[in-house]
């Protein structure tokens, strides 16, 4: 049974990231890079919330969340790059000039405007999810087939983005930005600002997902996960529900991607390769699927662990991640949050139960 969370945990979480870390930076204990790194993890956590909605709650394993994440990142990247180009008095971003392109491709045009960029960063992933979802859910594709098809789709998109002819920078991706809305991206205060914005968006996304999963809508999602065929005999249109949650998950991934870009300063197709899309699902699996806190903690902890591991034992990260994943699947099927929960229950049992081993 789901237990109610003590508000203290939320307060601790918010206090740690919204007060303690920034204070640590302002008083000189932490470098601005540490701040920026955590800001990026928040973006992953936002995308992880979407994965938890579609996979953890609804039972649909979507492997194209990394692609939606990239759509958000690329959109903002295009805008930043155009701003820089115009400021330098040029018409075309450098890489296009090198590729001997003469006019700006039509799909770059709307990204001159910040407002349009924001709209398109959300609209394109949402539309994409809607169309893909409509086709797949209508033809009642489920389970492992769903995972394979969405993974294949991501792979196809990855290949398209790799090509120079796509005019999105190919393998090198888009990089080398100066400013966002006139603020210098390399300045520390802008980095801190982006960190705070990402954290605020993460909190907002969490509470939105909390509302969704605790509403009757969320219960229908769980019912779809448990027994998809049964729920339609209770007059629920399964396709509508799946489509809605798929679009919401795509939007969350895109929002994560949009905030991620100005903090890393680069986006390449590598963010949506097979490894990246599997890794995103792993955050949620390790954190605890079907549990929003698990998704957030999973994304934060796995990435934190990644940063430690890459400096301590480079090259071994995938083995460590794989090992953790196997352990989780075998022993803690509810992930980190499930582990915490069972430890807490065991403690409570030993404390309150009268010993029964006296005989």
């Amino acid at each position: 049974m789901r237990t109610k969370t003590n508000p203290l945990y939320y307060i601790l979480f918010i206090a740690f990231f919204a007060i303690l870390l920034p204070a640590g930076y302002l008083s000189g204990f932490l470098s601005v890079n540490t701040i920026s790194v955590w800001g990026r993890y928040f973006c992953f956590a936002i995308a992880a919330l979407g994965i938890d909605l579609i996979w953890g709650y609804t039972g649909i394993l979507s492997m194209c969340q990394a692609f939606f994440f990239c759509l958000g990142s690329y959109g903002i990247a295009m805008h930043l790059l155009l701003k820089k180009t115009v400021a330098a008095g040029a018409v075309l971003p450098d890489f296009m000039a090198w590729n001997k392109i003469e006019t700006l491709p039509f799909f770059w045009q709307p990204f001159h405007s910040f407002g349009w960029s924001l709209v398109l960063c959300l609209l394109i992933p949402a539309l994409f999810a809607f169309v893909v979802g409509f086709v797949l859910f209508r033809s009642r594709i489920k389970g492992v087939y769903m995972a394979i098809i969405t993974q294949a789709l991501t792979l196809a998109m990855w290949l398209i983005f790799l090509r120079n002819e796509t005019n999105l920078g190919g393998t090198n991706g888009l990089t080398d930005f100066n400013t966002i809305l006139g603020y210098n991206l390399s300045s520390s205060s802008v980095k801190l600002g982006l960190y705070m914005i990402s954290f605020a968006v993460l909190c907002a996304a969490y509470f939105a997902c909390y509302y969704i999963t605790h509403s009757k809508f969320g219960k229908v999602l769980q019912a779809i996960r448990d027994s998809e065929s049964r729920i339609s005999y209770a007059a629920y249109k399964v396709v509508d529900y799946k489509l809605a949650v798929f679009v919401v998950a795509a939007l969350l991934a895109a929002v994560g991607g949009m905030l991620y870009l100005p903090q890393t300063g680069i986006i390449t197709p590598g963010r949506m390769d097979v490894k990246a899309s599997v890794e995103m699902v792993m955050w949620v699996a390790l954190g605890g699927r079907g549990n929003l806190k698990g998704a957030v903690l999973g994304a934060l902890l796995v990435n934190f662990l990644y940063s430690i591991c890459t400096s301590l034992f480079p090259d071994s990260w995938l083995f460590i991640l794989g090992f953790l994943f196997v352990i989780t699947v075998l022993y803690f099927d509810k992930g980190f949050m499930g582990l915490v929960e069972s430890i807490r229950q065991r403690l409570a049992n030993t404390r309150f139960k009268t010993p029964q081993t006296t005989l």
Binding site: M1, I212, S215, K216, F217, K219, V220, Q222, A223, R225, D226, S227, S229, R230, I231, S232, Y233, A234, A235, Y236, K237, D240, Y241, A244
Partner: protein, 251 residues
């Protein structure tokens, strides 16, 4: 007639599972369907509720054809189904199972902004009381006993408030006492709903079959009559003969 079925047939891989010339049901009638294993009883209900597509034939419900409609459309038209293998939502509490079933708007926005009214909560509790589920209200449905799952699924159908209830083997896995109680409940429900019940337990059939009993054998309608007529019909006895003696003895 509330439900009219003509020349309905379906086969799975060349085997005729159902070949029903005619079947009809009055409004507020309680009909029992019996027949040996594999007779096509569940398949018949599967076709009515849209789970299985028929090869040919026609079914009208309330005067409107329902063959080929989606499960949701059929459910909306007022047909509720309890499956042979109890199918509830194991990861939700009993209360949530009932909440999802209850008759209301079921589109995504209504669900997202749904607020439980006291009247609805009261109705859910009333149905739960009738089916002895009150003490299990906040248990996960997956943790219930087999008998309780059967009752939960009946409660789900009751809360949907359909015109026609399709109840597949409600007494399977229940104790005599529970079976008796289920029978009494179905009789009470039949005052306000039309019901088709499939059952093997002859004592149970005797309890609830105040009206007609339909006998299906190898996908065909063998006969239709009162319980006494069916019980004494030589063809019915023959088709149960050599299958399970237990069933024959209770007949």
């Amino acid at each position: 007639m509330l439900l009219n079925v003509n020349n309905l047939s379906v086969s799975f891989g060349g085997v005729h599972a159902l070949n029903l010339d005619h079947f009809s049901l009055r409004d507020k009638e309680l009909r029992v369907i019996i027949g040996p294993n594999g007779a096509g009883k569940s398949t018949f209900l599967d076709i009515i509720c849209g789970k299985t597509k028929a090869d040919k034939g026609e079914i009208t419900f309330n005067g409107k054809p329902i063959l080929g409609k989606t499960e949701v459309k059929i459910a909306e038209a007022g047909i509720g189904r309890k499956f042979q293998k109890p199918s509830v939502f194991p990861g939700l509490t009993v209360y949530d199972n009932l909440l999802l079933a209850a008759k209301m708007k079921k589109d995504i926005f209504s669900s997202l902004f749904f607020k439980a009214t006291p009247a609805l909560a009261e109705r859910i509790h009333a149905v739960a009381t009738k089916l002895s589920l009150t003490t299990a209200m906040y248990k996960m449905a997956g943790d219930l006993s087999h008998g309780q799952k059967q009752w939960l699924e009946i409660a789900i159908v009751v809360l949907q408030d359909p015109t026609l209830m399709l109840i597949d083997e409600p007494a399977a896995g229940m104790s005599d006492e529970e079976t008796e109680k289920t029978g009494a409940l179905l009789l009470e429900l039949s005052k306000a709903h039309s019901i088709i019940v499939i059952e093997h337990d002859m004592k149970f059939v005797e309890q609830i079959a105040n009206e007609l009993v339909t006998v299906l054998v190898r996908g065909k309608r063998l006969m239709e009559g009162t319980f006494a007529e069916v019980k004494n019909d030589q063809r019915v006895i023959d088709c149960y003969l050599g299958r399970t003696n237990a069933q024959l003895e209770t007949l």
